[in-house]
């Protein structure tokens, strides 16, 4: 099921893009970038919906009715939750809408990672798995093996720029890509954080938590796993930032210290 609906299509799309770019230096890296753009284009409406939801949540913080509810039912948690749900319903807001793109990201990340490893086929068994994953319409014999080099990286291995000295916890060298992944993830998370003046607002607190944990987690992934995955992360983050910017929903002030509170004052 997972292979049929996620791994095989992902792998074949990657190979198909690679076949179009064959001959270009770093073709597999470009394939991952184009694949990410494709995924972003498909999930654009979903992300747009999430942005809309985040904006609605932001506006809700300044809503008098909302603030009155918070004050009135501060001591009655159940009643407060009921009233909050009523307001969400009335205003057509999904309080968990902002989490959905992140949740959807996980199967894509896992699927893409498996597809990259499968497409690069670093072992005999991996090559055998790849052989049975390829759709007959692709003339794969001419494509295989894929060239895993992209810029200074081997996309099938963790990235690192060699250091002139040994560092035990950095066996692959200086992790440039992992840092770029962490920074771009942080920026993207911060840009979409709803501004709030309410210290008890759970959505804002959740977003705040995500903006700390996600860069660390994705940075760890980039440090540990094949660098092809890092290329996906960085491309996806940059596209996300671009989307927020062009739709005018990027909260640039959030990048400044205390910017979240400052924005809420507006």
């Amino acid at each position: 099921m997972w292979n049929t609906f996620i791994i095989y299509p992902f792998t074949n799309v990657l190979l198909w893009i690679y076949s179009l770019l064959a001959g270009l230096p770093g073709a597999f890296g470009w394939s991952i970038i184009l694949f990410t753009i494709l995924i972003r284009a498909i999930t654009w409406p979903l992300n747009a919906q999430q942005l809309k939801g985040a904006q609605a949540m932001q506006e809700l913080q300044n809503d008098k009715d909302w603030q009155a509810i918070q004050k009135k039912y501060a001591k009655d948690r159940e009643k407060l939750a009921q009233e909050q749900m009523r307001v969400y319903k009335e205003k057509g807001i999904n309080p968990f809408g902002s989490c959905l793109p992140t949740v959807i990201q996980f199967p894509i990340i896992i699927g893409l990672y498996q597809s990259i490893i499968r497409a690069l086929a670093a072992t005999p068994l991996g090559l055998l798995d790849l052989a049975r994953s390829i759709y007959p319409s692709l003339s794969a014999a001419a494509l295989i093996p894929l060239n895993s080099r992209f810029l200074w990286m081997d996309l099938g291995r963790p990235e690192g720029i060699p250091l002139p000295f040994d560092v035990s916890f950095l066996p692959n060298g200086f992790p440039t890509l992992a840092l770029v992944v962490a920074v771009t993830t942080f920026i993207q998370s911060k840009l979409t954080m709803p501004a709030t003046s309410n210290p008890g607002d759970q959505t804002a607190a959740m977003s705040n938590t995500m903006s700390i944990y996600m860069p660390l987690l994705l940075g760890y992934f980039a440090l540990t796993f094949a660098s092809g995955l890092s290329v996906y992360f960085i491309t996806s983050n940059l596209l996300g930032i671009f989307q927020y910017a062009v739709t005018g929903r990027a909260n640039w002030r959030n990048l400044l210290p205390g910017g979240n509170k400052q924005a809420s004052g507006n």
Binding site: T123, P124, L125, L128, A141, Q202, M206, F221, F225
Partner: protein, 378 residues
């Protein structure tokens, strides 16, 4: 207010725990994927007629053919950096060459006559650590030289004539593309297939290319067959087997196949036997006359094994087949798991090494009956 804050705080904590749980789950899933790629490849198997040497992941086992008992294992304790999948190779002076496909890219020669009494593992005679990638293919011994193909795209030539315990490459020949197949030789040239579709012919003395590399149109994970008449036969992912005349470097189509051809054909008298990944098994005369083909029950990866009256081949479905020259199945044995490793024979035993079975090695008699199985005790 305090109660509200406490409840709110608890709610936040539980959400953070869920979030962390999801992230850790994701990390574990990814970790699982990456591990699966490197440690799970089929074993390499060889025998000297009395002992089987099985390269099966973190250990290489020496197994007595008479009863399937373990004699020793190398290394004595498993380490995550050493993984063995390449077929062990026995040198003329009795050393065993082992290449690691783990993060430690060592090619090591061990001496099975020098067993460490504390670890019960053979001592290392020499080590070569000059390769940049994994050893997936077995090296070729030619005279006093080792021709070792590495996944970094280089053929390393080492000398067996010195007493160095740390070897350096006498020659490093860049071929481009990963090398997954054991080179073959007719004594005059060394033939090296590469995964980037080319076959190279190198003079073992001057290291010069005998002729321009031949493009087979698909990856070549298997070794060429060198016939007594001096011809080469080689299959590839271009779904065909080609015939090559070494004197001129001329390549001619021999036979088209249904699927990709992985390992080398086996010659019995004037007939070539080989399988493909679509599960077909072929018998074709050297003249090019197609005799027959059968499609038993799964992809055929390993090379067939010639026995006295029949040919044995194995399938991914875990079955061992014995077929006679007419293509009739003489016997079949359900070994279990998946079998990709080429079967070998010694001391009237037929050895098969499945993956994902309850054992690592099984010995069959000449009628396909199981004699013993080998499963490491720990």
């Amino acid at each position: 207010m305090i109660l509200y804050l406490r409840r709110n705080d608890q709610s936040m904590k539980s959400k953070k725990i869920y979030l962390l749980f999801a992230m850790v789950l994701g990390a574990l899933l990814l970790s699982g994927c990456s591990r699966a790629g490197f440690s799970n490849s089929w074993p390499g198997l060889t025998t000297d007629g009395e002992i089987a040497y099985l390269a099966a992941g973190q250990h290489v086992y020496a197994i007595r053919l008479s009863d399937g008992s373990e004699i020793w294992r190398y290394p004595s304790k498993a380490t995550s950096s050493l993984l063995f999948i390449a077929k062990p190779v026995i040198t003329p002076d009795g050393m065993i060459l082992l290449g690691s496909a783990g993060s430690d890219h060592r090619l090591v020669a061990i001496d099975p006559t020098r067993i460490n009494v504390e670890t019960n593992a053979p001592e290392e005679t020499w080590i070569f650590s000059g390769a940049a990638d994994r050893w997936i293919a077995a090296p070729l011994i030619l005279g006093d030289k080792v021709f070792a193909p590495n996944a970094d795209g280089h053929l390393y030539v080492l000398s067996l004539g010195d007493d160095l315990t740390t070897k350096t490459a006498e020659q490093k020949i860049e071929l481009g593309g990963a090398l997954w197949a054991q080179p073959a030789s007719d004594g005059r040239l060394v033939y090296i297939p590469t995964m980037n579709h080319y076959l190279y012919a190198v003079d073992p003395e001057s290291y010069e290319f005998a002729w321009p590399a031949l493009n087979l149109g698909g990856a070549i994970p298997g070794s060429p067959l060198v016939t007594p008449e001096g011809e080469l036969f080689l299959g590839s992912f271009a779904s065909e087997v080609v015939r090559i005349t070494p004197a001129t470097g001329k390549m001619d189509p021999f036979i088209s196949t249904q699927g990709w051809v992985w390992d080398s054909p086996t010659l019995v008298e004037d007939t070539l036997y080989f399988g493909d990944l679509d599960g077909y098994f072929y018998a074709v005369r050297v003249s090019g006359e197609r005799l027959w083909s059968i499609q038993p029950d799964g992809p055929v990866v390993g090379s067939p094994l010639a026995m006295s009256d029949y040919v044995v081949f194995v399938t991914e479905s875990g079955t061992v087949y014995a077929v006679d020259p007419e293509g009739k199945i003489v016997w079949q044995h359900e070994a279990g798991g998946q079998i990709y490793t080429s079967p070998v024979t010694g001391s009237d035993r037929l050895l098969v090494a499945p993956m994902n079975a309850e054992f690592l090695l099984a010995a069959l008699d000449t009628n396909g009956n199981r004699v013993w199985t080998f499963k490491p005790e720990n």
